[in-house]
Amino acid sequence: MNLLEVNDLKMHFPIHGGVTARVIGAVKAVDGISLKINKGETLGIVGESGCGKSTLGKAIVRLTNPTAGSIHINGRDITHMSQRAIRPLRKQFQMMFQDPAESLNPRMSVGEIIAEPLLIQKVGTPVWRRERAIELLERVGMAASAVDKFSFEFSGGQRQRIGVARAIALQPELLVLDEPVSALDVSVQSQVLNLLMELQDEMGIAYMFIAHDLAVVKHISDNVAVMYLGKVVELADADIIYKDPKHAYTKALISAIPVPDPTAVKNSMILEGEIPSPINPPKGSAFGHRLNHPKYDETIGLDMSLVEIEPGHWVAADPCCLSEEDYSKARNLI
């Protein structure tokens, strides 16, 4: 059984307009995503801003109510559970946010912040919770004395460590990490990544690691899903997706990463344009539209679902974004 199983998840936000504020459209932030995470594994989600990756994370931990589709955690369907019903289950899955300055309450001491999930779940006595907070602080590499200080007394990296301590306080099985290191300097970023990898080894937590930095995602993930405009366009083992990307968007993303070697011969394909608006997305292939691809017209109304083109390597059957050989293979699988 998979720890997390998401099927055809959709998260649409209504747009209101006119005098009566009736619904005139929808932002299709997440538009039909299916994925799985096994126990103790990491799934990386990459994509540019506005592709819906954070919305996906929030929907999975049910901070929002999905429009359609289903989410199963440990086999239980949590898609439409009420917040009250879901609360005891939250021990199993936690979320950690991007900005450590904004996600920690400045009026609470670090000890209170870390112990809050324990308090909400009514675990232990106040004395025990404080001891546990100290234990967790030490586990994430901070001094026990931090327990009575406030989060603003710490640097960005240390605040992110506090965030990690809070997220693991209930020993969750799944942790959704939304851009956990993008606000940090490189030398501190690697400290936090090392810590996350250690914790995974020790506690067997599964991560859903959302980030825009491909090198970071590749480093920490077992599998990587590439998102474009609310959809997954490619999903494969982390090493394979970087060595043998099939989808044109994945290729473009990889070639856009600056290479830290001045002697490297760079043949980066410079993409034109930007990600289209999810309010009024192109009718056919979203990336084909950005590429101004000659086959774009063919894709209007075409079924471009993900297919397993090679064992464990899934890609959208999109004629604009695959080589001819890959596309005919993919088409036969639909």
């Binding site: 090198a215 290479v259 930007e274």
Partner: protein, 326 residues
């Protein structure tokens, strides 16, 4: 060999705060040769942006003060000159690209008006001609349908487009020096690649020199000729880009390079780190500040290490504990 466009000598910049005067930039020196790109790299709070803002003297007032040193631009020291002279240089001979394109643009003025401003001021164009030239500038930075975009407001553009507008403003008067302060940090990788490519092309066309401030060594490797590595308000190493990547001398530079996550690093391997963090600005020691971070003790904390040339054009702050030089 062409001359240097900019020479910064022993620049000192401080801020007056409630807890006294704090020195953010402590004796920084470097030169920018004509037509070259010099990268300044370092972590947040190392003084790289303050260095740039000191060059054009746009420090927060009244707290920011330049307490010493020289900034020689095209043979003339800019420190201590009157405001009039500075007005004529800023936006005209030195163009600035700021990090956050949303705050760098005025939300209540049309794009065209903001572009025309420096053209009218420095080149003496009429409003009408400036507007026309603005359209050409937008076209140059690759904005589609510029004649329409020119009369739009900043909020109508995407992040990448706004950054292109900021670049167009910086380049409007064909400056000799462009200061780009984290020009791509707020952007997505694919847009970052577009913007870096654009900067590169425009620099070649105009022959301007560029100071590129960034924390991303990948961006440095792809765009710069020379690199200045800053740590805690000082330059710890300065060299041609190849030397920085192939033969780094200072432990901080080495640490930065080792902390980077690269595509080639084996998956889930332990990444290199630099232990601890930068000390607070009020606690900086007089001696080697990287030794301070490494919690070393002794003489190296008391005396500032000399800045010596170890190979041609390769300079390093020669702390005996942070480099191999005794």
């Amino acid at each position: 060999m062409s001359e240097d466009v900019l020479i910064v000598k022993n620049l000192q910049t401080a801020f007056d705060t409630e807890s006294g005067r704090l020195t953010a930039v402590d004796g920084v020196s470097f030169t920018v040769p004509a037509g070259k790109t010099v990268g300044i790299v370092g972590e947040s709070g190392c003084g790289k942006s303050v260095t740039a803002m000191s060059i054009i003297q746009l420090l927060p007032q009244p707290s920011g003060v330049i307490t010493g040193g020289e900034v020689i631009f095209k043979g003339k020291n800019l420190i201590g000159v009157d405001d009039e002279t500075l007005y004529n240089i800023r936006g005209n001979e030195i163009g600035v690209i700021f990090q956050e394109p949303m705050t760098a643009l005025n939300p209540v003025h049309r794009i065209g008006k903001q572009l025309s401003e420096s053209l009218i001021l420095h080149k003496g164009l009429s409003k009408k001609d400036a507007w026309k030239e603005s359209i050409e500038l937008l076209e140059m930075v690759g904005i589609p349908s510029p004649e329409m975009r020119v009369s739009e407001y900043p909020h109508q553009l995407s992040g990448g487009m706004r950054q292109r507008v900021v670049i167009a403003i910086a380049l409007a008067c064909k400056p000799d020096l462009i200061i780009a302060d984290e020009p791509t940090t707020a952007l997505d990788v694919t847009v970052q690649a577009q913007i870096l490519d654009l900067l590169n092309t425009l620099q070649k066309e105009n022959g301007s020199s560029v100071i590129l401030i960034t924390h991303d060594l990948g961006v440095i490797a792809e765009t710069c000729d020379e690199v200045v590595v800053m740590y805690a308000g000082r330059v710890v190493e300065q060299a041609p880009v190849l030397n920085i990547f192939k033969t780094p001398q200072h432990a901080y530079t080495k640490g930065l390079l080792a902390s980077m996550t690269k595509l080639e690093t084996p998956r889930k391997s332990v990444l290199g780190t630099i232990p601890n963090m930068v000390a607070g600005i009020a606690d900086f020691v007089a001696g080697c500040r990287f030794c301070q971070r490494m919690e070393r003790e002794g003489e190296s904390l008391l005396v500032r290490p000399e800045f010596i040339e170890v190979a041609k054009d390769h300079w390093v702050e020669a702390c005996p504990q942070c480099t191999d030089r005794a």
